[in-house]
Symmetry: C2
Subunit: 350 residues, 2 copies
Amino acid sequence: MMLTGGGDLAENRARIRDVAARAGVSTATVSNTLNHPEQVAGATRARVEQAMAELNFVKNASARQLRVGRSLMVGAIVLDISNPFYTALIRGIEDRLAADDCTLLICSSDEDPEREARFMRLFAEQGVRGVLLTPSGDPAEPLSYLSRLGIPVVLLDAESDQVSSVSVDHVAGARQAVSHLLDQGHRRIAFMNGPPDLRQCRDRAQGAWEAVLAHGLDPAAVLVSQSLASMSAATGQAGLANLLDQPGPKPTAVFCVNDVVAMGVIRELRSRHLALPQDVAVVGYDDIPFAEELITPLSSVRQPMHDLGWSAVDLLLTEPDQPRHITFTPQLVVRASSRPFGPAGDRTQV
Amino acid sequence: MMLTGGGDLAENRARIRDVAARAGVSTATVSNTLNHPEQVAGATRARVEQAMAELNFVKNASARQLRVGRSLMVGAIVLDISNPFYTALIRGIEDRLAADDCTLLICSSDEDPEREARFMRLFAEQGVRGVLLTPSGDPAEPLSYLSRLGIPVVLLDAESDQVSSVSVDHVAGARQAVSHLLDQGHRRIAFMNGPPDLRQCRDRAQGAWEAVLAHGLDPAAVLVSQSLASMSAATGQAGLANLLDQPGPKPTAVFCVNDVVAMGVIRELRSRHLALPQDVAVVGYDDIPFAEELITPLSSVRQPMHDLGWSAVDLLLTEPDQPRHITFTPQLVVRASSRPFGPAGDRTQV
DNA sequence: TTGTATGCGTTATCAG
DNA sequence: CTGATAACGCATACAA
């Protein structure tokens, strides 16, 4: 009848029981001191607190969570933690989370639905209080998984009528970017897009299309699109190389699905000795902090990264009866990479 | 005697008990199917697995952890998650962690010892299997806290004879950077350093000093150092502004404690219409992916970010009897920001 | 090969 | 205001 029980890690870790013994009270009182201090007499509370200090008492979150059924953790899945856009988003998330003193379990799906599913399971096993999801593809599957388990979700950059979501009007964002390029006289515009599985990519394609139509031009003639398998500098560079190697008229401008891809594009332009913006203009998306510091400061569509994260958590923790949808409007910031005249180092808005 | 028990979250979540009932076996058999499948007969195992699928069974990590005493999570504290250096490090950490299928709990201390301490407590409460720590100051306190609780630690960019650590030879790194600037003829070099609480900052100061001595010059005359309260673009910019506003001879070169600070410095130079590198040369540290894409490609001391993270986890999970210390040697990458001749857009090494 | 029974550390109920 | 005690879901020793 020898149970091994207890792990090796917590060998000599003080439990509530030990604190109780030392303070000469019951475990219930210790627990109350911890969770309902107002119900404990000042003197006893002091004794208990002293005992806790002396024994280096640390709560056992597993035991607590097992008992109460929910944790103070929130899970978040972002597409790519290396992208400064997502680290800025994470800041917003953490700031709002701190107010409810929850902590964040962040995972980077790297746009891989399988990784995403794995992290989903992890979150479920951990009993997170909720999940913020930037889906790698169709959110239907992860959504039904979480809903079956009763875990609240807020979608980022995706929508569903089942759950709340926070989005950016990417149609408008892309429209601004492409309109701007058309205004500059560009009539052959490459669009380095991400995988069409991502709604934000489809929306940006839509916005680009609309902008061309609004200028009374034929989108099929003006836009030459390329879908990248993932959104990294490397794929952006390879994508543009591929596009430029095709026969036919070359684009005079490139609109990129995000700034990291734009960095790859710029790298490729430079390696071909194409001048930016004289030979080819470039506009990115996200307006990460590095955008304005690049060799040629990059025009970009700014998203309110911090607010996105903040609002998403707010929806999650507030949990309205009806799913709510918040939409932000992005703002094009024009810099030298798409402004043909004036000194390259010249800085303008923002 | 009505116990509320169980939380609201997991209201209708299948437990091992439910799976057992459905499969017509005992809970022990279900548990075995999960953790020791080889001990279960093929037929029963199939029945159990089917039942799990039908019920959407998800393990309860809290209960499991409470029983076995340790979790499969590892905690990591980085100084600043917005800095691409740390996201690259995190990649290395995750890659190694995946091999032991552990998951990562990442927190950004923002160089604040209080935040660091809070996360430390969180890790302890969660019963993490170990901690990777980039300390915000003197590691003595967090170290003794964790050791009291029996939680293994590996230090990053800090050392102690109590625990294993992974470092970079920052003395050598700074020496290379400053030697290079001296070789270019600079005799008045500003050093925008971080807080002296950080060992890596003290080491880099030491390396800078040594480089000047090695050139037979007087460090006090050549180096003008400034300690920034934190290492961000904003503090870097403010620091340089402050320094340039002082009376006396102006520096002709700036060595920055990291690339993000260098970005701020460059911003300030630009706002004063000082040309890079003709008026002032700049060298950064870390060689983040953006360094070579900046307006003027930035010379920087490259650290093996991925390997740093990977090795740290390896030490943590291997847990040698004796603390081990791994030291990497960084490598200066020279780019246009510190090379006075040749066209600015010219790219060389790497 | 499978089933029975027990305890991990905590919290909440209820009685004193 | 405090104490005794039963669960929370799971993994294990041991019996069958």
